[in-house]
């Protein structure tokens, strides 16, 4: 991984927790790490989004980038652009929906793509149901926003029905 300020290898990884906008992650070479740790001045590239932006510039044309930015998760509605700017994903489904775009980022951060640690003892949540629930919650919010309470209540019943099924996530156990 390269330093966010220059082309030297990033050997210091700093998570700044005091920024009001949320944690910011810095990958820096020794020299820039010293500057950041010693001075309390804002850095030009402060977030994961900086690293991401830099990475995306490599090997992508402007058009490709624009197209990628518009890509939207069908479950939660987050666009890749929004993720790129905030550094935060919208829902668990994004890992599947943006998989090919996230892969280089995960390799960059973790140098790995496979979880080898602990696994939940319960059966894993059904992916389709999870996506459906997230999507329904989004639809319900939209219905409430446009004051279509009939539709909102219909969606609510649908959510409750899925949740009432013990095979589904969020179901009372």
């Amino acid at each position: 991984m390269k330093c966010q300020y220059c082309d030297k290898p990033a050997t210091f990884h700093i998570t700044e927790l005091t920024q009001p906008g949320g944690p910011q992650i810095l990958h820096l070479c020794e020299q820039h790490a010293r500057t950041v740790l010693q001075k309390d001045e804002p850095s030009p590239i402060k977030t994961i989004t900086g690293a991401l932006a830099k990475q995306l510039q490599l090997g992508q044309t402007k058009e490709e980038l624009k197209k990628l930015d518009q890509k939207e998760c069908p479950a939660c509605g987050i666009t890749f652009f929004e993720f790129r700017n905030s550094g935060r994903l919208g829902c668990p489904m994004d890992y599947i929906h943006f998989e090919s775009d996230l892969t280089p980022l995960l390799v960059n951060i973790h140098d790995a793509l496979e979880h080898t640690g602990k696994r939940p003892s319960r059966a894993e949540a059904n992916v389709d149901t999870q996506a459906e629930l997230i999507s329904l919650r989004k639809d319900m919010e939209a219905a409430v926003a446009r004051e279509d309470y009939e539709e909102a209540s219909r969606i609510r019943d649908q959510i409750n029905e899925i949740q009432g099924d013990p095979k589904h996530p969020g179901a009372a156990s």
Partner: protein
């Protein structure tokens, strides 16, 4: 689990992790482990509506209430707290700045010993944290692993067979595990070796962060070492990396730096730490940064046997209790910055002049 209406039970106490006990506690303040978890079927916080956040909070609260042995756990509605109370919990390291400063439905469950807390609706739906005094990662892991298992029996987590526990930020995905060891390294700071030490660990993926201070500037010679990666390693491998590979090396360097300082000029060092104690116990007005600076020297002096009538646990406690929100909670009212400087000096005087005071007496 019982709902805490105010934080009075916490104000007069201090957490287990401040006791100054446990392995290597002259240098290692605390070992902290946190797990990031999300509830399946809900979007991550960024895409949650107010209603989603409420539902997650309600669902998690109900499920936590059902856990065995959670009768004494305090459940705090963070959204309902005043700014000072939220800041108080941040200073106490029971909640993060992020959850303190965010909006909407959010909460924290705290155990009476302050060894663990569970934040609800932080960056992830659940942030489980365990904190032990000294270098004690394995038992901290056993505790958090058991907690996680107990919660998981009640709450279905978002998990992917390949990517592991799914988190809002891709830097936490996989294990969702962050191991953080807080170190007190005044010897390396005085001898200006600290950068060299961090440089010597270049190839190891660890994060180093300075700690404390009212601003983001670090003070008090505290450094937190954490794992950088969370995916592709087992939890034990990550614990091993931080606890067995990185931290012992830093401890060794710090011991050598302290030995060097004594060898080079014990009298100078003795003078320096004694003056620090003198300032802390006689000042009439003192800032938080200055307090950290001198407490750090005194802490080293105590650990090196140069100051023998103050306990490490007392110093540890003073680090926390002299911070702004703590002072105001202890004083029982809102104080301006300059009033805080006076109150902080009074507080330090009361507890340091009475040399040999035990930490239990310090309230």
């Amino acid at each position: 689990m019982k709902e805490a209406k105010d934080l009075s039970a916490l104000v007069q106490n201090s957490g287990e992790w401040l006791k100054g006990t446990g392995p290597e506690s002259d240098i290692v303040i605390s070992s902290r482990i946190r797990l990031a978890r999300n509830v399946a079927g809900f979007p991550f916080i960024r895409k949650c509506s107010d209603d989603d956040r409420k539902k997650i909070e309600r669902q998690v609260r109900t499920r936590l209430e059902a856990l065995n042995g959670w009768e004494d756990i305090q459940y705090v509605d963070v959204a309902a707290l005043s700014e000072i109370d939220r800041q108080f919990l941040v200073e106490r390291q029971l909640i993060s700045r992020e959850i303190a400063e965010s909006e909407g439905s959010r909460a924290v469950a705290i155990d009476p010993c302050e060894q663990f807390s569970v934040m609800v609706n932080e960056e992830d739906h659940l942030r489980i944290q365990v904190m032990h005094s000294g270098l004690d990662l394995l038992s901290a892991w056993d505790q958090i692993d058991a907690l996680d298992n107990a919660i998981e029996r009640e709450v279905l987590y978002a998990f992917h067979p390949q990517y592991g526990y799914l988190t809002a930020c891709p830097t936490n995905v996989g294990t969702g595990l962050r191991v953080s060891v807080m170190l007190h390294l005044p010897g390396l700071v005085i001898t200006q070796q600290i950068e060299k030490v961090f440089r010597s660990m270049q190839r190891i993926n660890v994060t180093v962060r300075g700690l404390y201070g009212e601003g983001s500037q670090y003070t008090g010679d505290f450094y937190q070492v954490s794992n950088q990666v969370t995916l592709g390693h087992t939890e034990h491998e990550l614990l091993e990396m931080v606890g067995n590979e990185v931290v012992p090396r830093i401890i060794d360097y710090e011991r050598k730096a302290r030995d060097f300082l004594i060898e080079k000029g014990e009298q100078d060092l003795h003078d320096d730490v004694s003056r620090a104690l003198g300032i802390l116990s006689t000042a009439r007005k003192i800032s938080s940064e200055e307090t950290m600076h001198y407490l750090s020297k005194v802490r080293m002096g105590v650990n090196l046997g140069l100051i023998d009538d103050v306990e490490v646990a007392t110093i540890n406690k003073l680090f926390i209790h002299t911070q702004p929100a703590h002072l105001q909670k202890l004083h029982g009212r809102v104080l301006t910055t300059s009033d805080r400087h006076v109150e902080r000096a009074n507080y330090l005087q009361r507890h340091l002049r009475d040399a040999g005071a035990s930490p239990e007496e310090l309230n």
